[in-house]
Subunit: 402 residues, 2 copies
């Protein structure tokens, strides 16, 4: 299936400037997607995310399924309406969190039985159920339900898991094709909004125009996920099998799980050889600022990672070694350092974000050591800005290489 994806130019190394048009808006690629796990990018309010020019964010299916529940969100009109984010969104399938967060996990060919990390209650995720949940959430892009294998894993274990992932990918796609029309865009209005004038261009209780008709001919895209662990032959096989299934886009999963960087790159590179060039290629869960730049220049179109926000909450902020050279080496700077205590300059003197425009390292250090909520917030805002600035620069560099 063809996505609305236009590749403008491709560089010799493989990186390319493209545009992905989604129901909720356009996304310039390569793109870094901030992660909004439980329908919130931790500590950062939506108008701030908008001001950072993030065009697409992620939400986690496992978390939202458990709380507040996908049916509640469906009734709210989907996760965009629920969290008041009007731009594109992507949901993962829940597969990774079931693997990494839940307790007492049992995998069968049918799916995964697990206990919630929140309250120990029993749940079951299958490809069909994951699709149903993601359709109810209504992100622009959904991910096929895959099995995540532990690291390291033997070739046999990896091959068996890959086989299961391929079956689950086919089942995901089948369910999506049959049920994607159920996406709640334009439906499932909030209780309070019923009875209000909601004709095209009509306002909600929030005085915002919500035009339902813009979604009437649109649906979500389902991406398949290439697995195969760290085994080149399995990776190739997985990519080929998924390409046969003709997904609108492809992710490269199961990486950045502790393997050496060179291996990550190798697995990405060989997957990119096989994945179609006229569809988006998404490496999940990466990475450090130099990594996202490296992979974008290889031909990766989309990436996501909790690192900017998580590091921010731990007092770690990204800077450029030479503030005046935004392409210089990225460094992780610990705001707690004693030598920040009276440093009245910004985190990064070359950064133009709202934090670096206004606040000093001294103040940010004070906030952090005082455990003040504003500390985590400002660190996170800067870090997300840093990541987005990185991709803006990379896009410009790719565009210039005609």
């Amino acid at each position: 299936m063809q996505p609305d994806f236009t590749v403008h130019n491709t560089t010799p190394a493989g990186g390319r400037r493209s545009v992905l048009r989604l129901p909720h808006g356009e996304v310039q690629t390569p793109v870094f997607m901030p992660v909004g796990t439980a329908a919130t990018v931790k500590t950062i309010e939506q108008s701030v995310i908008e001001s950072l020019n993030a065009e697409i964010i992620l939400a986690n299916t496992y978390h939202l399924y458990l709380r507040p529940g996908h049916e509640l969100i469906r009734r709210a009109g989907g996760v965009h309406r629920f969290m008041s984010w009007q731009r594109p969104m992507l949901t993962d399938s829940g597969g990774f969190q079931v693997f990494s967060l839940s307790k007492l996990r049992k995998v069968t060919p049918d799916g995964v039985e697990f206990r919630s990390h929140l309250d120990g209650s029993k749940h079951f995720f299958s490809p069909e159920h994951s699709m149903a949940v993601q359709i109810a959430l209504g992100a622009d892009i959904m991910m096929a339900f895959d099995e995540c294998v532990e690291t390291p894993a033997s070739w046999e274990r990896t091959r068996d898991s890959m086989g299961l992932t391929h079956e689950w990918a086919a089942r995901s796609k089948r369910y999506w094709e049959e049920h994607r029309h159920e996406v709640p865009w334009g439906q499932g209005l909030g209780i309070r909004e019923q009875g209000l004038d909601l004709a095209p261009g009509g306002s909600t209780a929030f005085g915002r125009t919500y035009d339902h008709t813009r979604f009437s001919d649109k649906h979500q895209l389902l991406f398949g996920i290439v697995q195969g662990g760290m085994y080149p032959d399995l990776r190739r096989e997985s990519a080929e099998r998924l390409v046969e299934m003709d997904f609108p886009g492809y992710a490269i999963g199961g990486l950045a799980v502790g393997e050496p960087r060179e291996v990550t790159r190798e697995m990405i590179a060989l997957s990119l050889e096989i994945l179609p060039k006229d569809k988006p290629r998404y490496v999940m869960g990466v990475g450090y600022p130099d990594e996202i730049e490296e992979y974008a220049k290889l031909g990766v179109d989309m990436m996501d990672c909790v690192l900017p926000t998580r590091a921010g909450r731990h007092g770690l902020v990204f800077i450029r070694e030479d503030p005046n050279d935004r392409a210089s080496k990225p460094i992780r700077w610990n705001i707690k350092r004693v030598d920040n205590a009276e440093d009245h300059g910004p985190i990064d003197a070359g950064c133009k974000c709202m934090v670096c425009e206004r606040y000093s390292r001294a103040y940010l250090r004070h906030l952090y050591v005082s455990d003040e909520p504003l500390g985590a917030m400002l660190n996170s805002i800067h870090n997300v800005a840093f990541y987005l600035e990185t991709m803006t620069r990379v896009r410009a560099e790719l565009q210039a290489q005609v």
Copy 2:
């Protein structure tokens, strides 16, 4: 001493519309001052506080003395520069926190010896030391160092404490008169900023114009604090004694410590009879939304309270019983309530704050039960907006009663 305080009109009940001109700007009164304890209004970033039209905020001397330290802040050019807040500020004297937060407190006629609640280290606060710390911090308004007496307290105990407070008020004033020229406005530039062009109108590392000359003929104001517990005769005596000392402004302290509302009102009313009408009158640490309205209409010009931000962090948000009547009864609404779970309307349908313009009760409830930082932030922003909106309405009502 005369402050730059202009009373525009006084209503029969005593409330009045005035303007207080301070070194960092003008304040329309009666005013509610959000509390920024450790140089941050908890969870709310400074540009958001500005957008809420808060004209003056508070910081706590005890907290900043302990961490990061007043000398560090003095070297930074004062707390305004340190936290990047360019509007008026007020610091309390530290007296109340020494009383309520510290461990192993020992009061002598000279001052108070105490142990830090942070690390148990020993410290000593005297009127002179409190003044020195507050001068180093550089808020527009400072408070005299007073003794706080426990509640309830006998008449004798209250009288003795009051006597000490009066001696300390005189010592505070003497020190302030001798040392207020040491305020670091325009001095004590940050390390990074040294060497930059900082002539009047010159920019800092932050690209902001910092005009030092605007402070060259200005200094901080020191307010005296009326004590006297819940004893009318002692309250009158305290007010009279402080008026004799000719402070630029007066606070009414030691209230809202558990006494019945009628007693609070009585103590305020009789203090207001004695305090001069041509100077600001500030009731510390109050109150609920109906209280601040009540006291403002009696003639109180300034109030502060942690309630809007603290309640917000605990999932409690203020609404009007009738959203369309902003003067109707204020109600504290618990965002955790199950009946919020699918309520897609705003916290308060008549509130025009950024939270009520964008986010639903359902989403805010989700954030709160999920312990997401954005929850506490949005609740707090709404609550501060609610308080500031209350005072805006009260000022308009007072102005209209010509």
